[in-house]
Symmetry: C2
């Protein structure tokens, strides 16, 4: 594991509360996983005994409805954690994890982790905080599904992605989200076609420029206003 990896890892909620010594000890249990774009890490319904932190690349968490339609819970990038729910509440995985780009992950066995939870209360408290934040965010998204129309939700999703993955450049805020429009649609809970039309509309108004699996945000204020 490179220095850079150690750095990325230390920003994950799991490690945030640990001192250098503790972090080192916990890192000793980490195994690295590499995935190519489209490759599946785990599937909905399987029993999970590990959690992961993204070191490099992006991974999506998806749920599949009985009829095959898919729903994207979130797209995770470096330092973000997932797969921890079955550590706290031992049940089968409720989502599948699939690589959106080539990516590298740090995996940690639940058995290696449990002693840290009981022995280091500050770790547990940090995790409670992380879950509380997630719950808040999820509630926000739920409210949007009820109150906001599709273009609004697309705008919101782009702003969220921009915050996490955006790179300022001469032309504007470059957001290389790596998602197809189909995936973007699953993320906002709409059909690919309507998302496409919303994007086209934004582009026509010069709020952004569409690129392959990316957008360049040109007028973030308008986009923000549209998202409310």
């Amino acid at each position: 594991m490179t220095d850079r990896d150690v750095d990325v890892l230390s920003r994950a909620p799991l490690f945030e509360a640990l001192d250098e010594q503790g972090a080192k000890a916990l890192r000793a249990n980490v195994t690295e996983v590499r995935l190519a774009r489209g490759q599946t890490l785990f599937n909905e319904g399987e029993t999970g005994d590990r959690l992961y932190v993204v070191l490099e690349g992006k991974i999506k968490l998806t749920r599949t409805a009985p009829d095959g339609r898919e729903n994207l819970l979130s797209v995770l990038g470096p330092s973000e954690m997932f797969g921890e729910l079955s550590l706290f509440d031992p049940r089968p995985r409720t989502a599948s994890a699939i690589a959106v780009t080539e990516c590298r992950l740090a995996g940690l066995g639940h058995d290696d982790l449990r002693p840290w939870l009981t022995g280091h209360p500050e770790v547990a408290v940090q995790l409670l905080r992380a879950l509380a934040q997630r719950l808040r965010k999820t509630n926000d998204v739920m409210a949007d599904l009820v109150f906001t129309d599709v273009p609004g939700r697309v705008a919101k999703a782009l702003l969220d992605l921009a915050e996490r993955f955006g790179q300022p450049s001469e032309a504007g805020l470059h957001v290389h989200h790596d998602l197809t429009q189909e995936e973007l649609a699953q993320l906002v809970g709409a059909s690919r076609e309507t998302v496409n039309k919303a994007l086209a509309d934004f582009a026509q108004r010069n709020w952004l420029r569409i690129e392959a699996r990316a957008v360049v945000i040109l007028d973030i204020d308008r986009l923000r206003k549209r998202s409310k």
Copy 2:
């Protein structure tokens, strides 16, 4: 606090991991709150320093959109906990708590609780489990908003309420949910009128009978099938 209250309280996730002695100590910090139907316990945006467990009655958690429309996150009954998010992640409340029926609550100050989190890892672990379950459930609801039509969501909501508040009787499963159709509509993310029509349709098919702030479920299997 009556014996009955102690019993209700002990089923809350906070107390579940404690032995009789610990539970007694924690109970010493509890203050009781009484509310009449419609009364507000706290409002979205306020800073919160307490969490609550329902002793008797029902309380709803609601969010208000900027334009005034409301969204019901959940309806909580005895032994259920709320208001804990701002303990783990100190931010203003993201929902308001309003009594659906006359009710009694046990309130616990965050300051009284924090030592328990750090000193009793089993409590923290129990809370992690509770939050993980909530997160799972919230994700389910989100998927329903995307994939299931309004009648389906109404059926699901009724089944959920039935599981938590249902009373078997000669006629059928009596679910005294105490919600107006307006509130039910806010719970499933739909308009009052469509919810009304969905209920009327179910009643006409003899799947249930509508009563004031209650339903009697007559054919739970059909209702279950419709909810999928």
